[in-house]
């Protein structure tokens, strides 16, 4: 042993072996999950490190204005003018793109209750949402004569049993939906004779009647309504009090 260590070569070899053992031990001992689960706040995740309720974010204080969302264009943001009257004109040019965007959004958020035609016969309406009061029918005289700001206001703040959609639909899309509602209103009250001849043929080929899809009897009746918010009246009048957990689009999808 002593002879072996005496040689310079042997000492280097022993040092190398020792170093390899230390590195191996460090690598094996270093196997842990720190990278896998990092102490950072991810959207909608649980986090016990900061707040007592384990939430990563705080509920917004009433009246909070999101960064970059200051109410600079009052009519665009609220649907009312500065005198408190509903606006009668769109605060932007109404283009085919706007209407198409409105159709796209309408079919996500509005058709469940208001139906594809806006007649208030969506599948949720048919399943019992009409118990408290009928779902709005855009094709009525009253709503056809409403200023456009009304539709923006209802989407933003809700109406009757309808919940507010301000946390789910951005203002531009709300105006887009309002423009598509106008399209539905006009199309439902336009005589076939006023449609261009080639489009008439297309329409006749479709042979669609609104009631075709309607079930013969009401499907699955809902249980009797329960008083959700006893003193405050309709549940729909209660706006989401800052408990919205939908990630805001403010970070543009970056992390």
């Amino acid at each position: 042993m002593a002879v072996w260590l005496d040689s310079r070569r042997g000492a280097v070899r022993a040092a190398k072996a020792l170093a390899a053992a230390i590195v191996t031990a460090a690598l094996v001992g270093g196997c842990h999950q720190d990278m896998w689960s990092q102490p950072k706040a991810k959207a909608q995740s649980k986090n016990d490190m900061v707040f007592a309720d384990s939430s990563n974010s705080r509920p917004t204080v009433p009246g909070t204005v999101a960064y970059g969302k200051a109410d600079l264009d009052h009519e665009f943001e609220t649907g009312y003018d500065r005198n408190g009257h509903l606006v009668k004109e769109f605060p932007m040019p109404v283009t085919p793109d706007l209407v198409k965007r409105g159709q796209d959004r309408f079919r996500i958020f509005c058709t469940p209750c208001h139906g594809e035609l806006g007649d208030g016969q969506g599948f949720i309406a048919k399943r019992g949402f009409t118990q408290a009061r009928p779902v709005g029918n855009y094709l009525t005289e009253r709503l056809r004569n409403m200023p456009i700001g009304h539709f923006f206001d209802v989407i933003t703040n809700g109406y009757g049993t309808m919940f507010p959609y301000r946390s789910r639909i951005v203002p531009y899309d709300r105006w887009a939906i309002a423009s598509y509602i106008r399209v539905l209103q006009v199309s439902a009250h336009t005589p076939v004779s006023e449609i261009p001849a080639d489009k008439q043929a297309e329409l006749n080929a479709m042979k669609y009647t609104p009631d075709q899809d309607a079930p013969k009897e009401l499907p699955i009746g809902p249980p009797p309504a329960r008083e959700l918010n006893a003193p405050g009246g309709q549940a729909g009048n209660r706006v989401a009090s800052g408990m919205t957990t939908i990630p805001a689009a403010t970070n543009g999808g970056r992390h």
Binding site: M35, Q131, F163, S167, P222, P223, A225, L228, M243, A249
Partner: protein, 248 residues
């Protein structure tokens, strides 16, 4: 001179060669099956939730759009779980006595978020972005399994890196194209797929596979279509394999 090896040593040799050659592989194979199997990855393992939410009922039987609840999916990295407010949009009026919805009502009345059990997770060093995937025509079912058939939600795929790369190496096999609605953008086609399912529209064999939760593999005779789609949608395959695409 006596024999060194007795005849019985033949058997010992055969067995030791067999054991030495096979057992290490058997251990490796078993280990990999366990770590890659549902026991570890939790695939097709429906989790208990505070309220028994059914995607099958809401997204398929009713035909509610995915984006009604997952509002972030088009613009954000996260698709997002809906706030209690979204549940109460309908359930303030419908099924208001149902015991299944007790957790929702409690959350609404106490102004406390519901703590759902997370079904799909990626490690913290992976930065997955939903918006780009749906924008290029990857259908929800491609990664999340047959969501339209899930009474309780389970994890559709194992989300191992190898699985991600399977598509990132050649997305042409997985891009969705709806030949019945060519006027729609790839993203609109993705969500229209669920409208077609709910409406009971006729499906192509590939669409049927997608609805059943099988990976939508483009048949060999249609490969060129997938490649053309990639070009049309501006998908740069070389870039897709770069590390920073997911780890930045």
């Amino acid at each position: 001179m006596a024999q060194i090896f007795k005849p019985a040593m033949n058997t010992v040799c055969t067995v030791s060669i067999f054991v030495g050659a096979v057992v290490p592989f058997a251990i490796l194979f078993t280990g990999s099956r366990i770590t890659r199997g549902p026991l570890n990855t939790k695939v097709e393992n429906p989790l208990d939730q505070p309220a028994p939410f059914s995607h099958k009922h809401h997204a398929y039987e009713l035909g509610l759009d995915c984006r009604f609840c997952h509002t972030g999916v088009e613009d954000n990295a996260q698709a997002g779980l809906p706030a209690t407010e979204v549940c109460m949009t309908c359930h303030s009026q419908i099924w208001t006595n149902s015991p299944n919805l007790e957790a929702i009502r409690k959350s609404w009345e106490s102004n406390t978020p519901i703590q759902w059990n997370k079904v799909n997770t990626v490690p913290d060093f992976v930065y997955f972005n939903h918006s780009i995937h749906v924008a290029r025509g990857i259908v929800c079912n491609n990664c999340h399994g047959p969501v339209n058939k899930m009474p309780m939600t389970w994890k559709g795929e194992d989300f191992r890196m190898m699985w991600c790369l399977e598509c990132h190496k050649d997305p042409s096999k997985y891009l969705y194209k709806d030949d019945a609605h060519p006027e729609l953008t790839p993203k609109q086609q993705v969500f229209n797929f669920y409208k077609k399912l709910a409406a009971g529209d006729p499906l192509t064999p590939e669409e049927q596979e997608l609805a059943d939760g099988l990976p939508q593999l483009v048949p060999p005779d249609k490969t060129h279509e997938g490649v053309a789609l990639m070009k049309e949608r501006g998908i740069n395959v070389k870039q897709l394999k770069d590390c920073y695409i997911c780890h930045h």
